[in-house]
Symmetry: C2
């Protein structure tokens, strides 16, 4: 379909922008999965060029002129129509990007590249001092970035809002306040009842080839991707990328103990299903993607945490896992397996955490990044503040700089990003409760290995809309609610309280 | 290094252009090697967008202004300096692209995409009529394209020159005239002495996994790529792509009989070595690639045909092949193996041809495409003309439309491209003779598995220059000669005459 007039011209421009962004996404996928290692330097230049071209296409004066001329056209369409949504979302992106000087964007990209290199070296040598100047630079640049965007005197909220339009500090306060109040004591209580012997079955390393075959089997059984539209590869870290609705790519590592790779596959599969089921009419527009970072996390964690750690799921899937690892799990009964899966055992590192401790770890990170951004915590004091806070909330103490160096978000410039994981799971549970009301047979279906009903519900209510609505708008449409940590906390209390001996 | 002034601005612009082109090349590689099949439609759009952006960057008025302002700068540098070469080659590309209207470029790209689909269907059903309208369109568009470029009243020469600057119809006449005169009778004579029993050892299908391991072993032993800078993958057809000097990618199929995959690996490895060894100072410029299509073929065929079918090479490499296929070749002596390798047996299809028959097949294609372009052969008569010409030159007759549908060059719009294969091997032998004069120990070294001397010679005399010189300029620098089929024909006569019983 060739559209004429200003709307057609905007669509053409946005299609070009989408193609350039997809090319960048594919180059990033290639870098992580297939690129010969020595190609990294050239690849960095290529990705920077595509980023710059995309930025130029979006922020060009011509884009602004078209958006201006389309105000009447926009108002003549319903707000949830493709046309009005496209113009509204594009205008929001256009205005946000125009506020950020090109020089600052360039500095942030360069600081992120240098920061990641410094982080890897600091982590290897467990020496925070190697990273410190890069972290300071990273926060300083994000402070300037926040100044460009902030309209409410709330720099941290502006950073959160950059990942999640319409979400701000009040949502972060509400969610993490509840986490502090409810999950910190829950972890302490559950930790006292940890059964290390039962937990040991998932501490061992399973054969990588069998893990890989099992991950593919899970994708086939659960996600129902259209034939010839997906792939799954080994990579250093799990991630999802897409070249289009019919080109979705999952990657995970098979080098970690237990069922890490299976849950990572469910997680990335949830991201993939979201973009796979966006209405094809939105292809090659800025609407062809998830609503926001937290909305995307709500879809990954729905499959990874809510479905993928439920008893109905495991009644269906455990025999397949036993068949994949007969030596390791052939003699382990379902109850014992689920007990190991749901083990709560605070550790100083997030990597070995279960779902409850993971959220408490995020609480530590969110508190510290807000303090660093506000200037109430000095960078030189960060490692000890980190270790103190982990000890206060989790009852365990990290050694030296290991904890603060565990992951690269801050070095990468991702400040205000940690909340998206918890906002994601909070929304996942809100959506799940709504789905269970709409589909009373859902748990029984999952127990029979039938996932089509849930996929259909998600496609209809969430996926097909792509980026038409912000996360709060979307959630209100589906559930009538605001972001609310209540259901998530109740879900955890119910799931874990019953494990604690009376 | 950040360059200032007009030259610096030109370099920056060309670096951006190079990044966009490399992104397109990587997307094409991905499409052939890793892309989920259902991603094809979105990928076509992405590649078209990158092509268009690259075209716009090159042909923008700003490029022309910079080239104009740099005339004095260019004249103040030696013609073979990086600076003068960059400006000269960029100006040539700029002027050529500016002559071709954007609409015609778009029509050619679309016709190529549609033509390839039609070709695949016509080939499957062996029905030329399905392809005919697409071929007519393809030739018509190339006729218009040639009109844009042609300054000498020689449309075919203009098409050849688009692939090979400074090469034209007179080179094609000289080379293919000699082929007609010398190789047609040679094939007839050799065919009469074909030993079908000896040839049968390379007719069988070898295990794909062992083929793949052998191909990797050959790359390691022969090409000396820098560590972590290359990969080799299975694909439907052999090809080479590059994301930069340290990111070279070979692909081949392992589904064909005999040692097809090994020779394809040598061929693509020769292409890869060329781009791998371009002077890094030329990276991210239009000089960072092979001089031309024929120059590239000279490098691939040097390894595939000249080195890779020589007796010294096989004295070194045959034990490795026997070790890879002990069941198939363990009992076959080197002489018998080489006899099978050098078998000359005309067939109606090029796919099963040896090196001599291959060139005669190209003669058929070159004659016919010139007649089609000139309008002296009607498209409806093409299948019978094809079959008659093959019979006249090779003594065998194709059945129905199979021959004319064998490969997709014309459907793809590649008209005037067939000569590059033969020009390539002609130049390969000229370069090889020069190398043997400069390096008297070359054959003995190859017999010991030492390829570094030849690689070093090629890097110094050919590879490092990238696209600084046209093929005739490069050949004159290295050998003092023009393109001359004499050495190639002598090489074939010497190699094959001795096989004929006196």
């Amino acid at each position: 379909v060739r559209l004429s007039g200003d709307y057609g011209r905007l669509r053409e421009r946005l299609a070009e922008l989408s193609d350039v962004r997809k090319a960048g996404e594919l180059l990033a996928w290639d870098q992580a999965v297939t690129m010969p290692a020595a190609g990294a330097a050239a690849r960095a230049e290529q990705r920077a060029t595509l980023d710059r071209l995309a930025h130029e296409l979006l922020t060009a004066a011509e884009t602004g002129r078209l958006l201006d001329r389309l105000r009447t056209f926009e108002e003549s369409h319903a707000p949830d129509s493709d046309e009005a949504s496209l113009i509204r979302v594009t205008r929001r992106q256009y205005e946000r990007e125009r506020r950020v000087p090109a020089a600052l964007r360039g500095e942030m990209a360069a600081a992120s590249a240098h920061g990641l290199v410094a982080w890897a070296e600091a982590k290897r040598t467990r020496d925070f001092q190697l990273l410190r100047p890069f972290l300071e630079r990273s926060f300083e640049l994000r402070r300037r970035y926040a100044e460009c965007l902030d309209e409410a005197g709330d720099p941290y909220g502006a950073l959160v809002g950059a990942y999640d339009p319409d979400v701000g500090s009040h949502d972060v306060d509400a969610v993490f306040g509840a986490v502090r109040e409810e999950l910190v004591p829950l972890v302490a209580e559950l930790a006292a009842h940890d059964d290390a012997v039962a937990g040991a079955v998932l501490e061992r390393r399973f054969p990588a080839e069998a893990q890989c075959a099992l991950a593919r089997e899970a994708v086939e059984a659960i996600f129902g991707f259209r034939p010839g539209s997906w792939r799954l590869d080994p990579a250093a870290h799990p991630f999802f990328a897409s070249g289009g609705v019919d080109d979705v790519r999952l990657a995970t590592t098979f080098m970690k103990p237990g069922l890490y790779s299976l849950f990572a596959t469910l997680h990335e599969g949830g991201h993939a299903l979201y973009e796979h089921n966006v209405d094809p009419a939105l292809a090659r527009t800025p609407l062809a993607g998830g609503a926001s970072a937290s909305a995307h996390e709500s879809q990954s964690q729905l499959w990874d945490l809510v479905v993928g750690r439920s008893r109905p799921f495991w009644r269906f899937f455990y025999p397949r896992v036993q068949a994949a690892f007969p030596g390791e799990l052939g003699g382990v009964q379902l109850d014992a397996f689920c007990a190991a899966l749901d083990r709560v055992r605070p550790t100083a590192l997030v990597e070995r955490s279960g779902e409850v401790e993971f959220t408490v770890h995020l609480l530590v990170r969110v508190e510290l990044e807000r303090e660093l951004l506000a200037g109430t915590l000095a960078f030189r004091d960060l490692p000890s503040a980190w270790n103190d806070r982990v000890e206060r909330y989790l009852g365990v103490r990290a050694e030296g700089d290991e904890g603060v160096l565990e992951d690269p978000h801050w070095a990468d410039g991702l400040i205000g990003y940690y909340p998206t994981y918890t906002l994601g799971v909070v929304v996942a549970v809100q959506l799940w409760e709504r789905a269970c009301k709409d589909l009373p047979g859902l748990p029984a279906g999952i127990e029979r290995g039938e996932f089509g009903e849930l996929r259909g519900w998600l496609r209809e209510h969430v996926h097909r809309h792509g980026r038409k609505f912000t996360l709060p708008e979307l959630l209100a449409r589906v559930t009538g609610e605001q972001i609310d940590p209540g259901p998530y906390l109740r879900y955890l209390q119910q799931k874990f309280r019953e494990r604690v001996p009376a």
